[in-house]
């Protein structure tokens, strides 16, 4: 869903961190985890996830290590302690934001005179 993909971009960092909360994953596995967890609604071009992962790594939020799988070099990422703290903060911020927007969208607004 393209509109969902656009909305996803604004929250990509938090979602990538969340996808690593369960343990180390490589780029394709992260993308698949996001797709499956969202029932296929959040889908970005896979190749564009890697530079975002590199940026998170440069920021010290995730840590990448190389291994060799089936003759190919594979980079696997995991959350750092700083990344875990950021994820917790992002979750709190999101809950507060979502609660506020839900309240505003669902409250009955009085008619203007």
């Amino acid at each position: 869903m393209e509109s969902h993909a656009q909305q996803l971009k604004g929250h990509l960092d938090a979602l990538l961190l969340a996808a690593l909360a369960g343990g180390p994953r490589h780029g394709y596995a992260i993308k698949e985890a996001l797709r499956e967890a969202s029932d296929g609604q959040f889908e970005l071009p896979t190749g564009t996830i890697y530079p975002a992962l590199h940026r998170l790594e440069a920021a010290g939020l995730i840590d990448g290590t190389w291994s060799t799988v089936d003759g190919r070099r594979r980079r696997t990422y995991q959350l750092t302690a700083r990344g875990e703290r950021r994820l917790q903060a992002d979750r709190t911020t999101w809950r507060e934001f979502a609660a506020t927007v839900t309240t505003l969208l669902e409250r009955p607004w009085p008619a203007t005179s």
């Binding site: 490589h26 780029g27 394709y28 596995a29 993308k31 698949e32 071009p45 896979t46 190749g47 564009t48 890697y50 530079p51 975002a52 590199h54 940026r55 440069a58 799988v69 190919r72 070099r73 594979r74 980079r75």
Partner: protein, 190 residues
Amino acid sequence: MAGHQLIDQHLALLAGRLPGSAVDELADGLTETWHHHLAGLSPTSAADAAIAEFGTPDQIIDAFVTHAPGRRIALRLLASGPIVGVCWAAGLIASRGWTWPLPHAPRIVFGLLLCGVVVALLAATTSRHSYRRTRLGAAGGATLLVLDTAMLTTLSIVTPPLAWPLLPAILASLIRIAWTARSLPAALGR
């Protein structure tokens, strides 16, 4: 490389425009995507589907350019540059810097290098489709680090006891040196 001619061609396009380590990672991801599609498609159809899912070379390269560490360094240095520049200008004017016993040649070389740094940083920040150009941000940062160090060294050697108007400039340069030295390794490594 990956196992199918179409995928190899896709990776070859990326290899010419991105760092080797990034291409290795992309090769692994694209091959995984291809294997995923092989479950229900012919090898060629699976390769087409994998490439479509992965994104075009331009999409991928543009994403790498947007997040390039050299571009981020250049953006921060350009944003902080005017503040540091004003500190130095104010300090040099207040300290009558033009009276210092410095030959003209080093002053001219310093000025030319500083102009070169600004051009390099601007080139890095305005890059949208060339990862190679974003590397100018790291080169500009490294040169600026040298220039800041040279300026502070010169101050300590050829000037009279430091006047207080120069202290903000010295502090600004020290902060910039520390930040640049910390950020450069990541940018030079990619």
